[in-house]
């Protein structure tokens, strides 16, 4: 099987969101970066499918040149090769992102054959647009199922499970198909040191697509109101227990 997973590099935000002076981005000078959580689970899911059925996992990202770090992480998790679309400093809107991914998929499929399964995260941790996977699926003319908490592949079909109120909805779709997954579909592995060393040798292809003018255009970022409460300290240590129970009584929850 040929599997493709699309991932995004996002900052590890920690306890507080600090914006740059121009309000266009998060201040990331003191932050690390990671793979957006749903997509990390997408990589794990694809690697497991390849381990079970045989096949090759390609990981694609649209991001700054430093996103190589996240592609290497996925290669250490068991992906076989990477494609890095270098994006430059400005943010891409969902349509521009989808178009760049689509071009890369078409080029790769022309050279290496069609992907049986293309995996996205349901939404990225930072911009949360909920649409790139669906757009790519339509452009390729393939079925798409989103928000999966369960996925298995057999006999040329994917069994896709969504968590809904009271249970799970199940979809059966023929491959090739596009899916998007949610964190919790699996518990991603921590790569071993030898796996990390092997990942350094795996190939990453690079190109630099041109960013189209955004049609959903970010004007500026804003911190939501209501932040920066000052907690009332009820006490220190176990001696505070009576004060806590008093508060619970006032709230009517005891």
């Amino acid at each position: 099987m040929r599997l493709l997973v699309c991932v995004k590099r996002v900052p590890l935000t920690g306890g507080k969101m600090v914006l740059t002076a121009d309000e266009q981005a998060l201040e990331t000078r003191h932050l690390g970066f990671t793979i957006s959580p749903h997509e990390e689970c997408g990589v794990e899911e694809a690697v497991r499918i390849a381990e079970q059925h045989g096949g090759e996992v390609t990981v694609l990202t649209l991001g700054p040149p430093e996103a190589e770090e996240q592609v290497r992480e996925t290669l250490a998790m068991g992906a076989h090769r990477g494609i890095l679309l270098e994006s430059g400093p400005d943010e891409w809107d969902p349509q521009g992102t989808s178009a760049a991914i689509l071009d890369a998929i078409r080029a790769d499929e022309a050279a290496n054959g069609a992907f049986d399964l293309i995996v996205f995260g349901n939404e990225s941790a930072d911009s949360g647009n909920f649409q790139v996977g669906v757009r790519v699926a339509y452009a390729l003319g393939r079925p798409v199922v989103t928000g999966l908490k369960g996925l298995s592949v057999e006999d040329g079909r994917a069994r896709c499970e969504q968590e809904v109120a009271g249970g799970r909805d199940v979809y059966l779709v023929a491959l090739p198909a596009v899916v998007s997954v949610l964190e919790g579909i699996n518990l991603p592995r921590y790569p071993s040191v030898p796996a990390k060393l092997r990942a350094r040798q795996k190939p990453i292809e690079r190109s630099a697509p041109e960013r189209p003018a955004p049609r959903l255009a970010k004007l500026r970022l804003v911190a939501p109101a209501g932040h920066g409460k000052q907690a009332q300290i009820l006490g220190e240590g176990p001696e505070a227990a009576p004060a806590v129970v008093e508060v619970m009584r006032e709230l009517g929850v005891t």
Binding site: T13, G14, G15, K16, M17, P37, H38, E123, A125, S127, G128, N129, F130, Q131, Y138, A139, V144, V145, T146, E161, Q162, V164, G167, D169, V170, Y171, V173, E183, G184, L187, R215, L216, A217, K218, L219, R220, L221, V222, P224, H227, K229, Q230, A231, Q232, I233, L234, G235, E236, G237, P238, A240, A241, P242, V244, V245, M248, L251, G252, V253, T254
Partner: protein
């Protein structure tokens, strides 16, 4: 006819509260023009009748037996039929799984931009004028609500979903019953390739995290899977659900279904007790819907204190059992 069109979700005729919230923004965007609604699935006509109180003039009910089970592309087809017929300036849905999914399908088919999880409109112009002027200025959710973005959305019709709980559902004064207009959407084979084939019920034990009145939640500071025993005991006293942070599920101490956060469950209890949770934005995005937050943390400088209403500073392995004991004592003396 212009105006706006809203996908109104319902469960067997009972309208979804989040769709009614979305109607508040839809009415603002309509700026006095017609508000149309689409209803799909069994019970659509019953639900349609209730929409007049929220300012809907025409409720279009898609009727086709093939729509009995959810199929995102088929729902999108229903919207596309109405877009063609009504020519709305904007098409909206609630920012639910289905609302966002169906609008993404519509956006992909029409190659139009789509703004997900909008919290408010900016610029004061109603839909028609703004669309004609080249874009609607709006505010939308980023980082699960930890950050907001002011953006300009192009496209005619404008496609947007409304973030859950950003606005209150408000009835519209002087509104009468809507006209109910059943129609048969032009469904094609590919619209039904992805459709719910089966529903599997899951038996949930105990109190559901999303609906619990009290949640006792643990983070890295709990130390281990076994460390949750004292949280379970406190939860039992309070008839509370037990939750946890992402660090805990990543470490495998608790299942992902217990995770509160941007990528887990969003909770809205009367009291949220955060034990040994530092307060990463990813976590706060999931618990900021709580009426009150009590933080139990050894670090008086932890970020969680900036989101909490109350705090106890110290070792949670001493504090949590002390609270449990105090509750037991209070009960036995009653």
């Amino acid at each position: 006819m212009a105006g706006v069109l809203l996908l109104a979700e319902h469960e067997a005729g009972a309208l979804d509260e989040l769709s009614l919230q979305a109607l508040t923004l839809a009415r603002e965007l309509a700026g006095g023009e017609t508000v149309n609604a689409l209803l799909v699935g069994d019970g659509g006509r019953e639900a349609a009748g209730l929409l007049g109180a929220y300012g809907v003039a025409s409720a279009h009910v898609a009727e086709d037996e093939r729509l009995a089970a959810y199929a995102p592309a088929a729902w999108a087809r229903c919207l596309l039929d109405l877009i063609e017929r009504l020519g709305p300036d904007a098409v909206l849905a609630a920012g639910t799984n289905r609302g966002n999914e169906v609008l993404a399908h519509v956006a992909a088919r029409l190659d139009l931009p789509f703004a997900a999880n909008v919290t408010e409109l900016r610029g004061g112009s109603a839909g028609g004028e703004a669309v004609a002027a080249g874009g609607i200025e709006l505010v939308r959710v980023r980082w699960g609500g930890s950050l907001l973005e002011e953006a300009r959305l192009e496209g005619a019709p404008a496609l947007l979903s409304v973030a859950p709980h950003a606005l209150a559902a408000a009835s519209a004064n002087g509104a009468g019953a809507p006209t109910v207009e059943p129609f048969s959407p032009e469904l094609e084979e590919p619209d039904l390739l992805v459709q719910v084939a089966e529903h599997v019920d899951t038996v949930t034990a105990g109190i559901s995290l999303a609906e619990a009145k009290v949640v006792v939640s643990g983070g890295r500071g709990v130390g281990s899977a076994d460390g949750f025993a004292i949280l379970e005991e406190l939860a039992e006293q309070l008839e509370a659900a037990v939750g946890c942070s992402r660090v805990v599920t990543s470490a495998g101490w608790r299942p992902h279904t217990d995770q509160v956060g941007q990528t887990g469950t969003k909770v809205a209890p009367d009291l949220y007790i955060a034990c040994g949770i530092s307060g990463a934005t990813q976590h706060v995005a999931g618990c900021k819907g709580a009426k009150k937050i009590l933080a139990i943390n050894s670090d008086a400088e932890a970020p969680i204190l900036a989101s909490a209403d109350y705090a106890v500073i110290g070792d949670l392995t001493e504090i949590v059992p002390a609270i449990t004991a105090e509750l037991r004592k209070a009960r036995s003396s009653q």
